[in-house]
Symmetry: C2
Subunit: 335 residues, 2 copies
């Protein structure tokens, strides 16, 4: 089942979307918003699935889907907790600045609490006030949880994953060093992120959803050129069950909590950092990683961060070449 939210009010209007994303049916009579559905999932999910079945068989009237009419599936959420599950990425960050990666990073997940009061729609511009802030995309996988009790195990946590999707976790790279040096984590350096057009239930993903990981190439295009083709199921040190269990160690998590994987990152076939797609590699899911590779290789970064007018596309295809979650397609715009 694939769910989305039409732009309406602060929380959108819940719709069920066809598997190929071509059509939709209004679901607001079942639950007005996706958050409302998540709040009462055991009751609402079967009704939405029945509607999805009717949509698939043509038993209910449908309308053509226009991605530009979509808000983020959750236009605002009560929690956005982002991990750094691809430790390869973290190791590169450290390597580029000449720092060792502590061994604990391979066993103890790194997470931060992000801002969840506003998520951008999949076609919304990335609003940027100052190019010198070093705006970057970060292509990631996200899951949405039901109510998660404190102290849950990784295995139990996997069973509490309601939906899977993608995010462009926008980062302001040049604000990060100063902010992290203050010791309390990110705030100004993490503006609003964009979510994929649709979120899907794990059962819809078939073999692509295994062991709490999403498998398949996460496509990232920058200004129309292939930038990243890393596999989200490869080099993910901590699966989503492990990330959720880490988050729930000292507190419960409310239904509708969005948990991020961190920037997807694959090692190269030779074990080194990835090569650009143009050089036959799998590329990168953020500009910073390419800049780190450039720094390690050449002593300095060469690729600039995002400028006004730059475009970013993020999507994952099914075996038929259809975008499973739709496509995040954003342009950087001055505000």
């Amino acid at each position: 089942m694939k769910l989305a939210s039409l732009k309406q009010g602060r929380d959108g209007r819940l719709i069920v979307v066809s598997d190929d994303l071509s059509t939709y049916v209004d679901a607001s009579a079942i639950a007005p918003t996706l958050q409302a559905a998540l709040d009462d999932w055991s009751v609402i999910e079967p009704k939405l699935k029945a509607l999805a079945d009717d949509l698939a068989t043509g038993a209910v009237a449908s309308q053509p889907l226009d991605a530009a009419a979509l808000a983020a599936p959750l236009p605002r959420a009560y929690q956005w907790a982002d991990g750094s599950a691809y430790v390869n990425h973290v190791e590169l960050v450290r390597q580029a600045r000449g720092a060792e990666l502590p061994d604990s990073f391979w066993h103890d997940p790194l997470v931060y609490q992000g801002g969840s009061d506003r998520f951008l729609g999949p076609r919304d511009a990335i609003p940027l006030a100052d190019e010198s802030w070093g705006c970057d995309m970060e292509a990631e996988v996200v899951v949405v949880t039901g109510d998660v009790p404190q102290g849950v195990s990784p295995e139990e946590a996997r069973g509490l994953i309601r939906l899977v999707g993608l995010v462009n976790d926008v980062s302001l790279r040049n604000l990060i060093p100063g902010e992290l040096a203050k010791g309390f984590g990110f705030y100004q350096s993490k503006p609003a992120s964009a979510l994929s057009p649709v979120f899907v239930t794990p059962d819809t993903l078939g073999d692509r959803w295994q062991d709490g990981k999403l498998h398949g190439a996460l496509n990232v295009d920058l200004n129309g050129h292939p930038f990243g083709r890393a596999d989200a199921g490869v080099d993910m040190t901590f699966d989503f069950g492990t990330l959720i269990a880490h988050l729930a160690k000292t507190r419960s998590l409310g239904a509708g909590t969005i948990v991020g994987s961190g920037t997807v990152s694959n090692r190269d076939a030779d074990g080194g950092p990835g090569r650009p797609v143009a050089d036959g590699g799998l590329g990168y899911s953020c500009i910073a990683e390419l800049r780190m590779v450039e720094t390690i290789r050449d002593g300095a970064p060469a690729t600039p961060f995002l400028k006004y007018g730059d475009t970013v596309r993020i999507w994952m295809e099914d075996d038929n070449g259809h975008a499973i979650f739709g496509t995040i397609d954003q342009k950087v715009e001055a505000i």
Copy 2:
């Protein structure tokens, strides 16, 4: 005007409370929840104020208020951003571990993104799985904003403060060093916080609300004994307008964003760290601060963190000795 939420469902049921907190009237016909009121404040606030006037004059039937029936005014929120506006507190933290306070800390606010998917009610237990985590209270002032545009000035931001209240920002002190060492800020070390019984509009506060600061003694009792009497309007380096402007530098803030002051902390009359209330000082708003003073004075902390069965009370009184925001009154319980 004083607003609160009766325990009901995930978001509570909005009520208007009398100035002395003795009675209330249901306001859910005007807006079902406080978040719904904040989402449409310009339309809803006048209606709530009219109801508050009717409550004050007896023109509407009221019911006796039982604080135990109250949820947090916002049982869940879309954002909880906590500052460290009392730099005296930050300086003590540093001093206790022999670190210098960078001069920038006096000019550049320190904030972190906290978890907002669950706030405890004012009489709810503090649920603690492990005493060795070093559970501590932190008595703070909070404000709730309307929609805040990106790039707002401190002066404009002050005009976007809708409500004022108190919080017990529960912290797990012994988890903080390891978590901050990882570089991404707090997560496991900051479980759910408790909010005061009522939130009030700034106009209700009279002279106590000036220049974006709440003035008056913030009372903290630990196990029935006076622990803190620091004035929230003193030694607050960054007023709430400045904190909000800092938060909104790179993004907008959604209506219902809760912004915290950080632990209230006053210097002693001689300019040094505060003395305990029993010694004639203004005491502390968290145990950690007393432990830092003990460390600076005696070489080691003596006061333990919270244990099962310990009680914490936090309140601020008006000129008549009434608790303006009601009283946060919690017991630490094993879960």
